[in-house]
Symmetry: C2
Subunit: 329 residues, 2 copies
Amino acid sequence: MKKLINGVDDVLSESLSGFAAAHAEIVTLGAENKFIRRARLTPGKAALISGGGSGHEPLHAGFVGYGMLDAACPGQVFTSPTPDQMAAAAEAVETGAGVLFIVKNYSGDRMNFEMAAELLSGPVETVVVDDDVAVESSTFSAGRRGVAGTVVVEKIVGAAAEAGRNLASLKALGDQVNARTRSMGVALTSCTVPAAGRPTFQLGETEMEMGVGIHGEPGRRRVPLASANRIAEEMVAAIAGDLGHEIRGEALLFINGFGGTPLMELYLMHHAARSQIEKHGARVARALVGNYVTSLDMAGCSITVTMLDDELAPLWDAPVETPALRKGR
Amino acid sequence: MKKLINGVDDVLSESLSGFAAAHAEIVTLGAENKFIRRARLTPGKAALISGGGSGHEPLHAGFVGYGMLDAACPGQVFTSPTPDQMAAAAEAVETGAGVLFIVKNYSGDRMNFEMAAELLSGPVETVVVDDDVAVESSTFSAGRRGVAGTVVVEKIVGAAAEAGRNLASLKALGDQVNARTRSMGVALTSCTVPAAGRPTFQLGETEMEMGVGIHGEPGRRRVPLASANRIAEEMVAAIAGDLGHEIRGEALLFINGFGGTPLMELYLMHHAARSQIEKHGARVARALVGNYVTSLDMAGCSITVTMLDDELAPLWDAPVETPALRKGR
C-alpha cells in the first residue's frame, strides 16, 4: 500500500485537522472530531446535516457551508458515523427550525441516523438518497445505493433552506430531487482502504466493473474494458430506461470521478454522455464535472442525471460557498 | 493501459469539447482547438495568456475566467502548444492593453512562446515560472522547472490585471510572485501517457521519487516510502532552505495533488506541512488544497509555499470565477 499517511489509525483525525485548518473561514471541527460544522450559523434556518463513512472526500464535509450543509459527520473509512456524532452535530447547529438528515441508503448509515433522530428532542426529518440504478441491493445496502446524486440533493435542498423554507417543505423537496435523480458508475481499478492495506477487489488488466458502488462493491457485471463512448452509452441507457418517460426537458449532467481518474478523462466522458443523453430526448442544461464523491483512489467515474424543472434549476444555480463547491453570490 | 477514452488521437479534442460544454457560461473553445478563451472580455485590460502540454488539468484551461487568465493554449499531452496557438489566442483576447504570457520553464514552452511573441505586433511581456527547488535542470528544462506555483502566479497577476494594472506592472508583479514562491513534489506511482500506453517510469512497490517533476521526470533521489510527516519535513526543509531569510511572516501553503492521490491524503499532508512551516518561522495565513496541477493519474503531491505581503495577500483573496477556482465577488 502506497499512501501519504502516518499511522493507519491517525488518517482520519489528521486529515480532518488539515481540512479544518485549510478552510477555517468556512468550517469548524467539533470536539472529538464528531462533526464538521459551519463557522457561522443562520438562526431560524432549518439545519441540514449529512454524514457517512470517510473515503468519499470531498463528500460530505466539503459541502458544509453557505447554501449547502450545516454539519457533516465523518465515520471511519467506509464505516458509518455513530449516532452520538449526529446528535452532537444537531445540538451544535440546530437554531430552532428543526433538523433535516440527508442519508445515503446504506444499512449502517440508516440505522445510525435513525438512532440519532430518537436521541433528539426537537423535530427531525430524514431524506434517504438512493440514486444508483445499477443494482437493487448490494453488500452494504437493502434497496438502491445512495451515490453521487447525494451532492445534487444537498445542493438543491441547501439552497431552499437558505431561502427560508420550512422543515416539512425541505423534506418533500429532498425526496423530489432524489426521485428525479439517477446514477450509475464504472470502475477501472479497485480502491485500497488504509486499514486493509490491499485492494478491496481484483480487476484484470483489461476488465472493468460496470455498475460498481462507491466502496468498490460489485455492480452488474465484470466485462472487458470498452471505449468511453460505449461505456457512456450503456450507463446513460440504464439511467434513461429507469427514468422512463421522465427523460424529457432539461437535465443536469454530473460526471463524478472516483478519485483515480484524470480530469481530462472526466471531461471526455462528459462529452460522450452529453450526446447520449440528447439521443434519449433530454437537453443538458447544467453540468458538473469533477471528483466529488470518491472511492479513495479508485479509477473510474459515475454518471448522474437529474431532471430539472422551473423550481429545481434556480435552486441548483443559487449561490453556494463550501470548500468543494462554490458559485458566486 | 486503462483509461476512459476512445482513440488515443481523440483524447485532447474530445476532452476540450467536454470542458467547453461543461463551462460554457465562462469559456469558449477557439477554432481548431487552438485555445480556450473567456466568453466575455474586459476591454482595455491587459490580456493574460498561458498554456502548455495537456495532462496537467485543470491547469491551464481551468484557470481561464474572471480574475485569472484570458486564454490558455493546450498542447498535446506533455507537449508544448505551437506558436500559432498562442498567436491566435492573443489575437482573440487582446483588447488594446497588451499581452502577458505566463510560461512554465520548460525548453519547448519557452521557445514556442518566444516565437509567438515575435508573431505579434503589439506589446508582449513574458513571466517565466520556475518554482521547483528539487533540481536545477531536468529532462525537459534548463534551469528550474515551473510547477504548481504557476497557479499562484496566475491567480495573483490575474487579480491585478482585473484591477487595471498595466502590462509593465503586471510583468514585474509576476516576476515578484515567482521569486517568492517555491515548490517540491513527490511521486508514489508513475503516470501513464495515453499515446505511450504504459507507465512513464517504474517505481518499486515500496519506493517513492522525491523531487519528481510534473511529467514524471526524475527528481533528487529514489528512496523507500516514508511517513507523511517525514515527507513533509524533507520537502518543507528544501523549500525553507531555498527561501533562506525570506521565510518570515505570512505564507500561502498550497498542497497540490498529482491526480491519483485521494483528497483525504492531501488534507493530511496539509496538516503535516503546516506544522513544519511553522517550525521554520512562517505563519500559514492562506491555504489551497486539491488537484490543480496534475500529472494525469500519478499518485503523489507537491508542496508550494508563497511568502505573502500586504500587496500579494489581497490579490490572492480577490474574487475569481474560473472552472477550477472560484471565490465570491
